[in-house]
């Protein structure tokens, strides 16, 4: 079963909270994420994973009456934003939660865990065989 893990990062003073961090803290954080990705590949569970660019350029788009895009945003008042996602293939939902908890505890300033909220959703699959 495949799960999507969506990482919601807190917004800081600027675009990224991380822009206020010390270089060492930042390096530790990036290293942690690389290691997590490496571990997921090594365990045969990695399907996909992407980081998203800064939310400053985020737009909500709707079709106008003529079908042309009507955009809204950016949203500087938003407290959290989707920073990235993973898709993992695991044997149980519990394993997906375990991976999410690991990602959530990525180190922040001073190496303290960030405990970011990670939304975990099962990816729709094909129908089972009919009985």
């Amino acid at each position: 079963m495949k799960y999507m893990l969506m990482m919601h990062a807190p917004r800081g003073n600027g675009e990224y909270q991380v822009s206020d961090w010390s270089p060492d803290d930042l390096k530790a954080h990036i290293g942690f994420m690389h290691q997590l990705n490496h571990d997921l590949t090594a365990s045969g569970e990695w399907v996909d994973g992407q980081g998203l660019t800064a939310p400053g350029e985020a737009r909500l788009v709707r079709a106008g009456s003529d079908g042309a895009p009507v955009t809204d945003g950016p949203f500087p008042e938003a407290k959290e934003f989707l920073a990235g996602f993973w898709i993992v293939e695991v044997d149980s939902p519990e394993r997906a939660y375990e991976i999410a908890a690991k990602a959530s505890a990525a180190p922040g300033p001073g190496g303290a865990p960030l405990n970011m909220p990670i939304e975990v959703r099962q990816v729709g699959s094909a129908p089972p065989v009919d009985a």
Partner: protein
């Protein structure tokens, strides 16, 4: 009709030969892990060379020769590495220096394929690992092909396979046939893995994922191989029959956009008569062997469905009887659920709904229970309850086509209800 391309012919031949060559190499070399890697490399080399240079007169010997040479090469570079690290390298690999020339016929033991299946479906492995390893080591598929079939990156699949092999190694299982009671237990694990491979392909045989139907074909091919090795085993025969009888309905099972078409609404002229005939013959053979387990029974149920020219011709009393036997045997709540459907077809929806009552505790929250309940309420004329359960089922299923189907059922009933109120 066009002749199959050389690549296709080579591909088929390689997949036939893969388990035989691996069996021979693993028996000679002893290390399954290294043998499996070497044979995979030999298969890849053959897939490149044979279409260009022609198929060698003794393809089995060619692959065996190349695989053994790969092992020798790996050992040699490993020795060189160790020599660099440690001057006390004295181990010789002379044993591996001799490889028979390609013309020499290598003794092929049919049992090797069986031993390989037992290894790849080892109970220490998770189903996902066992499936991947079986497809590579016995099915002769490349890691890239398996990764594509399961929609994961190749690196992920490569890791899954190498971890599976490490698990087998640490379990201490050698390249030998399990015996006695263990053999029966291990055979049922093999059957389960083949069944899962079939499901994986069959369940997704629609829309943009068409290549995944190859998995069903591969499962059928492996089941045929197993059946040829164990023609007297009723469970093996039953599993092959079940696959053929299910696969026969594939073309009718989904609409043009991949939407699900339930059994009673399928266009039965699209069913594959040849597969049905073969499946029925196999299932008759399995059932004639006295004590019968779950696969022949499930195959028999599939055969009853397949033999009905129209949905209303289905012999539901027969299906009900078969599910009753299966229920006593397996204690699986899903079987009880299916028996309730059959009972509803024979004795009416109320009887079916009554049989569902005790299943709440055992299947609590499973969407199939809601889906069946919705269906039976609908047949009993209770649209309100049917809508509630169709919606609950739609929210709980992980399958997108199934969710669409269930949501549509609820919407149609709701629209009908509004229409009735407007007409009143």
């Amino acid at each position: 009709m066009t002749a199959p391309s050389v690549e296709t012919a080579v591909g088929h031949l390689l997949r036939e030969l893969a388990p035989q060559v691996l069996g021979a190499v693993a028996r000679r070399h002893g290390d399954f892990d290294a043998a499996e890697d070497a044979v995979q490399e030999a298969l890849v080399a053959a897939a490149m060379q044979w279409p260009r240079d022609g198929i060698p007169t003794n393809p089995h010997g060619w692959l065996y020769h190349v695989a053994l040479r790969r092992i020798t090469d790996h050992l040699r570079s490993e020795m060189a590495r160790r020599r660099r690290e440690d001057a006390v390298a004295t181990q010789v690999w002379a044993e591996w220096a001799f490889v028979p020339p390609p013309e020499v016929d290598i003794g092929v033991e049919g049992d090797d394929t069986l031993v390989l299946l037992f290894m790849c479906c080892h109970p220490a492995l998770t189903p996902a690992s066992a499936i991947a390893l079986t497809l590579r080591a016995v099915g002769g598929l490349t890691t890239a092909e398996i990764a594509r079939a399961f929609l994961v990156p190749e690196a992920t699949m490569a890791q899954r396979i190498s971890r599976a092999k490490a698990t087998i190694k640490s379990s201490g299982t050698g390249f030998s046939m399990p015996d006695g009671a263990e053999r029966a237990e291990r055979l049922s694990a093999v059957l389960h893995v083949l069944y899962l491979i079939f499901n994986e392909g069959y369940a997704s045989s629609s829309g943009p994922q068409l290549q995944r139907t190859d998995l069903s074909n591969e499962a059928i091919r492996l089941a045929r191989t197993l059946h040829a090795l164990l023609p007297d085993d009723a469970e093996v025969t039953g599993l092959l029959a079940l696959m053929l009888l299910t696969d026969a309905r594939r073309a009718a099972r989904t609409g043009p956009a991949g939407e699900l078409i339930p059994l009673d609404e399928q266009d039965r002229t699209l069913w594959d008569r040849a597969l049905i005939a073969e499946g029925v013959e196999l299932v008759s053979d399995a059932l004639s062997r006295g004590s019968v387990g779950p696969y022949p029974l499930q195959a028999a149920i599939a055969a009853v469905h397949d033999e009905a020219a129209r949905a209303e011709d289905t012999d539901w009393p027969q299906i009900l009887a078969l599910y009753s036997v299966l229920e006593r045997m397996s204690d699986n709540p899903m079987v009880s659920l299916n028996r309730a459907i059959a009972a509803a077809m024979v004795e009416g929806p109320k009887a079916g709904l009554a049989l569902l009552e005790p299943l709440d505790a055992r299947l609590g929250g499973h969407y199939r229970l809601d889906a069946v309940r919705a269906h039976l309420h609908e047949r009993a004329g209770d649209a309100e309850r049917a809508i509630v359960h169709y919606r609950a089922a739609a929210e709980r299923t992980a399958s997108i086509p199934e969710r669409d189907y269930l949501t549509l059922k609820a919407a149609r009933l709701a629209a009908g209800r509004t229409q009735r109120i407007a007409d009143a």
